[in-house]
């Protein structure tokens, strides 16, 4: 079973994502801040990360950057998500380079769409 780390500060959004993913057979962990996400990454060792860009203390780009600096975090797929268009444009460019994040979703997105992307990245 794959484990997905959700990094999301909005509790409702986090619950929606975790409920949906768990209903489709994934195990999920939820972190609410950047530092918490980094901590949790080390213990949970997720197979994929869903990272919101607007996070308290450290934004999603920074979190991804930190994860990539860890030797064990170089290859984990990261899907960034944001409700902010401008971040979305930046995030798409970021993901397009294929360096740090593999995909980008603009909120509100369709949960089905998200699931499809997640499945692709984990296959």
């Amino acid at each position: 079973m794959h484990t997905i780390l959700i990094v999301e500060d909005d509790p409702v959004s986090a619950e929606v994502l975790s409920t949906y993913l768990e209903a489709h057979g994934y195990e999920t962990r939820t972190a609410r801040t950047g530092p918490e996400a980094l901590q949790m990454y080390k213990t949970a060792r997720p197979d994929l990360m869903l990272v919101d860009v607007q996070l308290p203390y450290r934004n999603g780009f920074e979190v991804t950057h930190e994860i990539r600096k860890m030797p064990e975090g170089r290859d984990v797929p990261v899907v960034l998500m944001s409700a902010v268009y401008t971040s979305a444009e930046r995030g798409k460019a970021y993901a397009a380079k294929g360096l740090r994040a593999q995909d980008f979703l603009v909120k509100p997105f369709d949960l089905d769409t998200m699931l499809t992307r997640v499945r692709e990245l984990l296959s």
Partner: protein, 494 residues
């Protein structure tokens, strides 16, 4: 009696310190001239010293009256006006008694211009100088016609004995005139520069404040998108059966919640775009658009707005080849969605909303026609302004923020096109958006916010003619103008 504004200004309490300065400078200049007069008199170059001393005394009297009334705070306008008038009378008389057209004193008018321009305003200055010219003209005319005796100028009275004294007095007089004019002009210039700097700063502050407000709005609207994701996500979960299977009624309610969420998202996105347009951050990114393929997608994207209402959404695309439009897909989509959203909002049950697409020579006209209550001619301008909806009264027949059309106008301007409305009360409304085939990429100019969208029916017709002209294919006049009188026939007086 009505007092002109420039005179009334003299009586204003906030002008009193300035008038007080005028009284002081009145004393200074008059006393300097008195001293020069005494010197010139002693030198024997003044033909009629008596009347000149009398004039100086009269000026000192009116100046003192002006000063007193300023102190008492009464009759300020009257005494200030009399004081200025006395300046002109004294100056003209002084010129008359020192040789009229040969007088060396003509430059004192310039002193008056400089002083008045600094201490009063354009109206008072112009009036005083006009008065001076009339009086001086009468002096000259009277001399030609022999109405009054003439006096010789000082230069004629100069002898070997008093030449040196005369030249010293003349030099002193010219210096006083020049210095007074220079002092007042320089002070005036400094005052204007100061004021301009203040205004510029105020303008900069206002622009900055407006920009900050728009940035703030953009941030707020971003924040609003987060809970909307919660709403749509929870609807997804419920419909997917995450909380057990739903009854038909429950499924219907979940659909309504989702629709409300979509509606909210649409409004939030409109606000966001409007904020960006106000902050002049909208960029135009043209790309080729295949209308035949794209338009049905746009309309499909608007179907949720209809919801459970009994409305027909119709697309009217002409047959034959469709030219490719190079424009900004995202913005055009937002424009059409806003127009469709408005049309759906105002349509009565059973109504039809039609989107016409008419390609022409220079661009494409998209028209959205509804069967709503229509917009009165006097309201047709205002509907494009932010936060207006129809008659602007509290009794709103339909909801919404009214931001959509304001946004449409700005976005269309960014695309290099324009938007017009054609409507008659009780007969629905048709919004026409003209988008050129090719437009230079540009950033929104805040000046796009100025009004230019509603055009006269004549210009609208011309626009449609232009659009149709190059097509070579006679498209039937569809939409509003086909089933109602010519736009300008029904307008005047109706």
């Amino acid at each position: 009696m009505r007092v002109p504004a420039y005179l009334a200004e003299l009586g204003r309490p906030d002008r009193r310190p300035i008038l007080a300065g005028g009284v002081v400078s009145g004393y200074v200049v008059t006393l300097i001239f008195l001293a020069l007069l005494i010197l010139a008199d002693a030198a024997g170059v003044i033909a009629a010293p008596g009347p000149l001393y009398g004039l100086v005394a009269a000026k000192l009297v009116t100046n003192t009256l002006a000063g007193l009334s300023l102190r008492l705070g009464r009759f300020v306008m009257l005494t200030a006006s009399v004081n200025v008038a006395m300046d002109i009378v004294v100056m003209t008389a002084a010129i008359y008694f020192t040789g009229s057209t040969s007088s060396p004193l003509y430059a004192i008018y310039v002193v008056e211009i400089a002083v008045l321009a600094m201490l009063t305003n354009a109206g008072v200055t112009a009036l005083a100088i006009a008065g001076g010219l009339v009086l001086y003209g009468m002096v000259v005319l009277g001399e030609i016609l022999g109405w009054w005796p003439s006096y010789p100028p000082p230069a004629v009275l100069v002898t070997e004995d008093n030449r040196a004294a005369y030249m010293i007095v003349k030099y002193a007089f010219d210096t006083v005139v020049l210095a007074t004019v220079a002092v007042f002009l320089i002070r005036n210039l400094a005052r204007l520069e100061d004021r301009e700097a203040k205004l510029r700063k105020q303008a900069d502050d206002l622009v900055e404040a407006a920009r900050e407000k728009s940035e703030f709005m953009a941030n707020v609207t971003h924040e609003l998108r987060t809970p909307i994701f919660g709403i749509s996500g929870l609807c997804d979960l419920l419909e997917a059966g995450a909380a057990g299977s739903l009854s038909d009624k429950q499924r219907h309610f979940v659909g309504q919640i989702r629709r409300s969420g979509q509606n909210l998202l649409h409004l939030v996105d409109s606000l966001l775009q409007l904020a960006k347009a106000e902050a002049a951050r909208v960029e135009f990114r043209p790309e080729p658009i295949d209308l035949r393929e794209w338009i049905p997608q746009v309309v499909a994207g608007a179907r949720w707005m209809v919801g459970t209402r009994d409305l027909r959404l119709v697309v009217d695309l002409p047959e034959g080849p469709m030219p490719t439009l190079h424009s900004d897909r995202g913005k055009l989509n937002h424009v059409l969605l806003n127009l469709l959203s408005n049309a759906i909002k105002v349509s009565p049950e059973g109504g039809t909303i039609t989107l016409f697409v008419e390609p022409g020579d220079e661009g494409v006209v998209f028209s959205v026609k509804d069967e709503g209550p229509g917009i009165a001619p006097e309201d047709q301008r205002r509907v494009f302004e932010s936060f207006e909806q129809g008659d602007g009264s509290d009794e709103r027949p339909y909801g919404g923020l009214g931001i959509g059309l304001s946004l449409v106008r700005r976005l269309v301007a960014v695309m290099g096109g324009n938007v017009t409305v054609e409507s008659e009360v009780g007969r629905g409304a048709t919004f026409h958006v003209f988008v050129p085939f090719e437009a230079e990429p540009r950033v929104a100019d805040p000046r796009d916010a100025t009004w230019e969208a509603v055009v006269s029916p004549e210009r609208l017709r011309k626009l449609r003619d232009t659009v149709r002209a190059g097509g070579g294919r006679p498209t039937a006049v569809r939409g509003s103008s086909a089933d109602r009188p010519a736009p300008n026939a029904g307008q005047p007086g109706s």
